[in-house]
């Protein structure tokens, strides 16, 4: 649990991350191509979830590079007071290109989803690809996911030609106690329609479970889903005093 204090409010946040190699990769002796980061950068809580595209030979390296790029981008971006989210996206794109060199960007294609919670309760979401973000507070409630006409594993990504407007972005002020989760498609695609907020609610008690026990238990619970992709999830909740 972490307290973040701005001039007017004290924000207390807690959460956890979970990542697990999917059935398909385990059977093939391959590592997970998901990479996650959950931590604090310059006073902001930062969630990064990247899912390397399985069809690309160096997707895992691409996802690693995307996490590094996102962290570097956020470090620069939060040093200014509420800059446009477009600047964050452009920084990530450019830094990722630098991070993957000398590899070919197309060999390293990866999705990238970043959530930044600043100490004044400002939330910024930037997502390229098929990660799903579920958010709930006293005024705002949304599921940000890929378009309904898409198919599984069919997604925009860093390293795949796209327009900047392929990034889904949200920027808003959190109101009251809030909770959010970010998931790769390995979990999100197997959530029953209409169940996202119920799952979000059920994740809260897991903040109190020890990391090792939580990982083993979540792994077992998520194993019942029909998918065989790598599975990653970050949960965060917060309240103001």
């Amino acid at each position: 649990m972490v307290s973040m204090t701005s001039s007017e409010i004290t924000l207390t946040v807690q959460g956890f991350s979970f990542t697990h190699t999917g059935k398909r990769h385990r059977q093939q002796g391959q590592p997970s191509q998901d990479r996650v980061y959950f931590g604090r950068i310059r006073g902001a809580s930062v969630l990064v979830v990247c899912d390397g595209m399985g069809s690309r030979p160096l997707a895992g390296k691409g996802a690693e590079a995307a996490v590094r790029a996102a962290k570097q981008a956020v470090r620069q971006w939060v040093s200014i007071h509420h800059p446009p989210v477009g600047h964050l996206v452009r920084l990530i794109e450019l830094l990722w290109r630098l991070q993957v060199l000398p590899l070919k960007a197309e060999d390293c294609a990866t999705t990238c989803c970043v959530v930044v919670l600043q100490d004044d309760m400002h939330v910024t979401v930037a997502s390229l690809g098929d990660a799903t973000v579920v958010y709930h507070d006293t005024q705002e409630r949304f599921v940000l996911t890929r378009p309904p006409e898409d198919y599984a594993n069919h997604t925009h990504a860093l390293g795949v030609a796209h327009h900047m407007d392929c990034w889904h972005t949200r920027s808003f002020q959190a109101a009251g106690p809030f909770s959010l989760m970010v998931m790769t498609d390995g979990i999100a695609d197997d959530i029953k329609p209409g169940s996202h907020f119920d799952l979000l609610e059920d994740l809260s008690p897991w903040c109190q479970v020890s990391p090792q026990k939580r990982w083993h238990q979540l792994k077992g619970l998520l194993a019942s889903s029909g998918g065989s992709d790598d599975q990653s999830l970050i949960y965060l909740e917060g309240r103001m005093a």
């Binding site: 006409e149 198919y151 599984a152 695609d189 889903s225």
Partner: protein
């Protein structure tokens, strides 16, 4: 705590939709018999798949008569009870394209968690009605059809290659002059779909082989 109430526990669907010409001309030269044999072989192979990562679902749209019909709605291949298609009447391609689009855009039949569908158009002639072009344009403009894998097979000398090429693109159209080549085409479709169902990357695109070459498919009995 029980996550089962939140999670779908079935493998993700991998849809295969066959749009089969069953017009009267398919009775000539044993074409409909060859198509039935090829479809039976394909379904048999699909049933053998374990469905551990993806479950192959099949629908067959029949083009014979004044309107297309749907003898087999999209369903798991292992549940589909196939009976031979019979050939009679005209080739209502426009009606078939509209039916295909309705299936593709129905989230209950093809949810967002499904893998990219494979669409296979088989015809030995020309569309019988003028509505085919507008319906095909609508279909190809739709996001879901444009992202699907599309293959086409021209059966015999009289097939309208222009229509098939517009449906699938020149690279994904093949011509079959006899029953052997029809079976060969469907063996390729079968192999590409079953390989995808086992693959770590089920959305990888594949390219059709040349049906005239000896590529070993005939040995795969």
């Amino acid at each position: 705590m029980d996550f089962n109430r939140f999670l779908i526990q079935k493998p993700r669907p991998l849809p295969v939709i066959i749009i089969a010409d069953t017009s009267g001309s398919m009775t000539e030269s044993g074409k409909i018999a060859a198509l039935n044999t090829a479809l039976r072989d394909m379904l048999h192979a699909f049933r053998e798949e374990s469905g551990q990562h993806a479950e192959i679902h099949v629908a067959i749209i029949s083009m014979g008569g004044p309107k297309a019909s749907l003898p087999w709605l999209l369903q798991p291949a292992h549940e589909l009870q196939y009976t031979d298609l019979t050939a009679a009447g005209h080739t209502p391609m426009g009606s078939a394209f509209r039916m295909l689009q309705r299936i593709l855009e129905d989230p209950d039949l093809i949810p967002g968690r499904a893998y990219r569908p494979t669409l296979v158009l088989v015809s030995d002639g020309h569309p019988s009605y003028e509505d085919w072009e507008e319906s095909l344009n609508h279909l190809l403009d739709s996001p879901r059809a444009s992202k699907a894998s599309r293959f086409a097979l021209a059966v015999g000398e009289d097939a309208d290659l222009d229509v098939l090429t517009r449906f699938a693109g020149a690279e994904q159209v093949r011509a079959a002059q006899d029953a052997r080549q029809i079976r060969k085409f469907f063996r390729f479709v079968t192999m590409s779909v079953t390989a995808r169902s086992r693959s770590a990357t089920p959305n990888q695109s594949v390219t059709l082989p040349d049906l005239g070459e000896d590529d070993g498919f005939d040995d795969l009995e």
